[in-house]
Amino acid sequence: MKGNSGEVGIYFLNGENPNAPPIENFSDLISYAEKLPGVKLVKSTANGGELNPNQLNSDIKQNNLKKIVLAGDSPGFYKTLFGKAMAAAGNDPEDVVVASFREHGAITADETDRAKAVLNCAVSNVPFEIAAVPDEVEVNPDTLVIGGGIAGIQASLEIADANKKVYLVERTGTIGGHMAMFDKTFPTLDCAACILTPKMVEVGQHPNIELMSYCEVKGVSGGPGNYKVRILKKARKVNIATCIGCGTCAEKCPGKAPSEFDAGTTMRKAIYIPFPQAVPNKYLVDAESCTYIQSGGKKCGLCMKVCPVPDCINLDEKDEEIEVTVGNIIAATGFKVFDAKRAEQFGYGKFPNVVTSLEFERLVNAAGPTGGFITSRTQDKKGNWVFSAGGDEPKSVALIHCIGSRDENYNKYCSRVCCMYSLKLAHLIKEKIPEADVHEYYIDMRAFGKGYEEFYERIKSEGVHLVRGRTAKVEEANGRLLVRSEDITADKLLEQEVDMVVLAVGLEPREDAGETAKMLDISVSEDGWYVEANSNTGPVDTFTGGIYVTGLCQGPKDIPDTVAQASAAASRVLQSISNGKIKKSIKDLPLSTIEAKVKELSTREGGAS
């Protein structure tokens, strides 16, 4: 058999390839590699040694190597180089095997055992997928979906429509998520609510979906096929079953807080429905802004008095915890937008008419703070800067891309949606105020999806000034805003006076994404997004059996991609339910089991040849 007679060379390439995992106990891994059967040479370029073809060639000849294992090189950047060196030494260039740690789940620093297993398989010519096969167990046919945004909605509907039970847990008072806040979708310019709300209603009415709004998952125990999930039912203080949604309570309620749905551009009452199309379309009480609760029950309590339904509102209601048992869990926990205040140079929070794209999205929406009129913020009687329908229309607007994205100071990654939604917003401004000057500042225009490039061309033809060059700062001048950038294609320093600046804020993992990941026992990438088992072949799986990731929590993506991914996660769940069995977690498989399996397979193979 090839490579089992002391002729294997192992090259560790962690230093060469930044995508390789940062294995913590590297020296342990190296000594393990040296002890593997047939290994003659172990070299590490972890300290940045340059790969030199001549050196490789002499390595191969000196040690009479017949096979080379490239450890940590994912997805095989250097395979060609080593293949050539092998061919030059008179060997088969195909005898270069990649031991990809990342591909097989050795992603975080503490996964040395997994890295060892992967290495063992590669040295012994046994595919990892064959050596590392977890046992199967029976699966509970119920499913938990965490998060009620478009990803959670889509996944829930797919499973429920296949006649399987779904628990959909949503943290806020309504499902809908970020998509419900958007005015239009790109590139089709469909009304976002018109697509989303029918789906929301379907979720609310579906006999197979148990919608648990205003609830949070607090703990997960058990294993694949049989997870016990503790769910906190936060006190809504309004009885969902009896509330008729008349609104009398909110009319009288004195407590106020910024509306989450309007991205803080309007105020809502302490007892409120998040937005008119909310599902469930029932009131809830926000304890933080409720006078009664904040005063310990001494003041107010008006809502309980005016409510026409007896015993519907109970401000003294307490949180309770329930437990459900499910076979599979889909995490669709979503994202938060970048806090624009962190990038001080753009003046968000300092200048009232520097707004985030999410705020602007609400501003252009017909159900937004001005009924859909684009106006600058003006001071009200109390001196607060607010959007009002009577405000001045901005004559010129600047849209600045990549706020908090593609920036080493904040997030290195591209948030993927900002270019397109900024183009969409530019279009909406032109549509509502045709004479307005719209200036858009971008680093690179990433119009990558189906119909996106065409959309970009269309916006260009609408007379939007597209400037290649990142804005460096926004200042105030002559009562207007001064946007400073370099137009790198025209070699010009631009100082553009505008009335309003829209910051295309990027997308970030939620603050508690890490805690949720710990609860679900799934990995989190350096950026904080959930890690899928394999970006090519397992885009919704995790290394924990029965747990899937979908939507933004796995990484920035647009609505079409999110919906597609949600359907994919649902299909994985349905697959296991249909089989009645599910594989246990690959990460629970001990190294010794894999080693034994490798030994068994390689001796059997060796005997045959």
Binding site: Q345, C402, R406, D407, E408, N409, I443, D444, R468, G469, R470, T471, A472, K473, R484, S485, E486, D487, I488, D491, K492, L493, L494
Partner: protein, 386 residues
């Protein structure tokens, strides 16, 4: 337009020797240029400089004055989305340009090799010490001549008998002429690359005279630097520069007035100017030293060996200078001689390695670059009118 530009694919590699940074990181977003308070429509930097370098346009880079327009406040680097450190690139380009102007090639060697620079400084240092040991004669305090001299001066240390100002002044002038010749020829080289080789602009003679005033004013005040947002940088830079200039003119032009055995009253300008200069140099050196050591502020995050050697020598010159003064006042005769020898042993390598070939030369190049850039701007504006 038909002018052919030669592309040097190794230019980036070459410039890398002059500083730190992964300059391929730059994705040309223009953030640095738009952040910079000094950049102007006709002279955009730092991004264009990085582009020129990345494209290997060696001649264009050699003829560009933009690196000298930057005073390095570091704002571009702190906000750079790629951590490409444009501020340090500008600094490295200044080092590179210094070596480009220098026809002897010594500058590049000193910049590229820390060992060489330290070695040259050390050799000169010990040569001076040796020269003192061999040639200096310690005056006999008991001799009639010396004691008469001392009582006449009202002094207790006959330093000028140990190191006669006339002789030192002569040596100073020789040093000035030698180093000055190198510096002047290098400046001419710069003028050649920036103005003479640029065929797109013709500068009438009267413009040269007209622009001198503005250039001189900027030199004295460092007015351009004061436009940067952080004023402490301008202040510390101005302190070190003004102190140096005053000290320089004392030594070169007024050594006889400056180096006296007679102890003047404190109100005498020789004393308080001397104190100002010493304070300015020591304060600035300590400020830079702490900054470079702590690496907290952007501009101090990367230090080239020339930066360290420069601060060290300058600091030692200032410290030994004030120690000469103190030991002379307190009548410590031998201590005065030792300090004087050390003072010169630090001063000569400083002048020799830095003035024409390294960091110090920016004292000449930068104002000259600003002058040339203004010339070009005015000339272009005139051409645009006609």
């Amino acid at each position: 337009m038909s002018e052919r530009k030669r592309v040097d694919p190794n230019l980036m590699k070459e410039v890398k020797h002059y500083g730190a940074g992964d300059w391929n990181a730059c994705f040309h977003c223009g953030n640095c240029t738009a952040t910079c308070p000094l950049t102007e429509q006709d002279s955009l930097f730092p991004r264009k400089g990085i582009r020129t370098m990345q494209m290997g346009l060696k001649d264009k880079l050699a003829g560009s004055v933009e690196p000298w327009m930057c005073y390095y406040c570091g704002d571009c680097s702190t906000t750079c989305p790629r951590d490409a450190n444009p501020g340090e690139i500008m600094m490295s380009l200044r080092r590179y340009l210094t070596s480009v102007y220098d026809w002897t090639g010594l500058s590049g060697k000193l910049y590229k090799s820390k060992a060489l620079h330290i070695m040259v400084v050390t050799i000169i240092f010990f040569t001076i010490i040796a020269a003192f040991l061999i040639f200096a004669r310690v005056p006999d305090l008991n001799s009639a001549e010396v004691s008469n001299y001392l009582s006449e001066m009202g002094a207790s240390v006959p330093l000028n008998k140990f190191a006669p100002p006339d002789l030192i002044s002569l040596l100073d002038h020789i040093q000035l002429i030698v180093i000055g010749l190198f510096l002047l020829t290098n400046i001419f080289n710069m003028y050649n690359k920036v103005i003479l080789k640029d065929k797109t602009v013709k500068i009438p003679l009267w413009l040269y005279i007209k622009e001198i005033g503005a250039a001189f004013w900027n030199f004295i005040s460092q007015w351009k630097f004061s436009k940067c947002e952080r004023k402490t940088y301008w202040l510390s830079h101005w302190l070190i520069m003004s102190s140096y200039i005053i000290m320089f003119s004392f030594i070169i032009f007024f050594l006889g007035w400056f180096q006296t055995d007679k102890i003047h009253p404190i109100s005498h300008p020789q004393r308080w100017l001397g104190y100002y200069v010493t304070f300015g140099l020591i304060f600035a050196c300590v400020y830079y030293f702490i900054g470079r050591f702590r690496k907290k502020e952007q501009i101090f995050k990367f230090s080239h060996h020339s930066d360290w050697i420069f601060i060290f020598l300058l600091f030692m010159i200032a410290v030994t200078g004030i120690l000469i003064h103190i030991s002379r006042i307190s009548g410590m005769v031998n201590m005065t001689y030792y300090m004087y020898a050390l003072h010169l042993a630090f001063e000569v390598p400083m002048v020799f390695t830095f003035v024409a070939f390294s960091k110090w030369s920016h004292l000449a190049y930068r104002p000259f670059a600003i002058y040339l850039s203004n010339l070009k701007k005015s000339a272009k504006a005139r051409m645009a009118k006609t």
